[in-house]
Amino acid sequence: MTAQAAIVGIGESRVGKVPDRSALQLQTDAAQAALTDAGLRMSDIDGLLTTPVRVEHWNMPCGVVAHHLGIAPSFLATLDLAGASGAAMIHNAALAIAAGQCTTVLCVAGQNLLSHGTRAKAVKSMAEGGSAHPQFEVPYGPLVPSLYALVAQRHMHEYGTTAEQMAQVAVTMRHHASLNPNAHKRDPISIDDVLKSKMITSPLHILDCAIVSDGAAAAIVTTAERARDLKKRPVQLLGQGYGLRHSHIGNTELTTTGAVDAGRDAFRTSGLKPSDMDFAQIYDCFTITVIVELEDLGFCKKGEGGHFIENGRIGIGGELPVTTHGGLLSGGHPGLGGGFFHVIEAVRQLRGEAGARQVKDAQVALVHGNGGVISIHCTLILGAA
């Protein structure tokens, strides 16, 4: 059913430090870029999906965004699967189209997370912002990175994963970002740079952690039929899955996640398998996240993720290029919209529009979003039409 929906337009605002744009302006920039890309006009949009923002209080984000864009869609909703929201917006758009509620859905997310306030306030508000349980975790003083550090430490203990292997993920993401003109952090780094960067919460150094950015991304989803008449090569949604095994990390096993369930269902609904994927857009809020997710999604066995990412396997030209735009570690991370850039990049690659970082003959890709503390997962399988 969902194979009848296609992504026909993608757009990004400027990403990085963009102090002259509000959250709504960034989203508008991305939406207009996606419309131009698709050859559509704002008046063609009859569905709207967005995510909450953290920098302002919007009483109904989908209504605020729709009103700002001057549209009155016949379907609109605000999705919050935290970091999995970007992937989930595409599937929810496909569902709304399949149900006949609308034909052309604008999915848009992003904000000025970097420029909105001070760094100290951002760190504190993230630490107390719900990733850690307000009663049973926050009082013990974890940073958000500390929650993932618990995962990393346990993974190292159980499987012998090393700091160098985690650093390799950061180095690869930075290299990919260096090939992406709109990426936030583009200066190359080495494994040594990561290992010598400030230890934040062991075993995670600052370069093992996602950056904080301003930016927004948008995609337009429509029927396969309508997609055939538009400018760009459509990208179809071939399958999807969801997973949730815990809400808070202090009360769960640490090295296997709901990505197992999301990936299994995405492969089942698409009729494909991990070895069919030409590349994978894996959520990379921390270096360890990529290692755990590659295992859980079935690209390698549990415990082998650290070895898997070595020897250039996840780089452009490798066996499985991963997160080719530079991801949250280097490409940009404006909060809930961050994982949406993984979707945008997948579309770009599947059209053959990725320039210096193009994956050769890219036809099928997996996109994975993770929210909370490797809590909630959404996996998409996308294919060039």
Partner: protein, 139 residues
């Protein structure tokens, strides 16, 4: 929460007040299912294993082992600045559940996964006492 210098403390609610009352009396309690016998944490109002609402607050051994840990070097807010480096740990209790805590009375670089620990109590305000854990070897 707007005052960056204040340590964030739990605000007990109807579902969690018994846990914090017990902690104030230096007792660790866990929700325990009267139907299936499962202990769970953090506290819910139905058993996550069998969905039974028949739960009791059962005393807990307070013994367990370090399941994972991290040494925090950069404080999340000024309230924790004087404490760095400190250890945030996940402890696996003998009764089964895991909980987040601090590992105390131990040099941060001496903490190890699998290290046996026991609960001790840190009074942080008139209302709130936090269960934290120390190495069993400190006895």
């Amino acid at each position: 929460m707007d005052n960056v210098s204040e340590r964030p403390l739990p605000t007990p609610d109807a579902a969690t007040a018994p846990y914090w009352s017990a902690a104030r009396e230096e007792r660790l309690v866990m929700p325990h299912c009267l139907d299936c016998g499962h202990y769970h944490f953090y506290p819910r109002t139905l058993c996550p294993q069998c969905s039974s609402p028949r739960l009791e607050w059962a005393p807990c051994s307070g013994r367990g082992e370090v399941y994972s840990f991290t040494v925090v070097h950069r404080a999340p807010s000024p309230a924790f600045a004087s404490a760095v480096p400190y250890v945030v740990g996940a402890v696996k209790l003998q009764e089964g559940p895991h909980l987040m805590t601090n590992i105390v009375h131990c040099a941060p670089d001496a903490v190890r996964i699998g290290m046996p620990v026991r609960v001790v109590f840190e009074k942080v305000s008139d209302e709130i006492t936090l269960p934290v854990f120390e190495p069993l070897a400190a006895e």
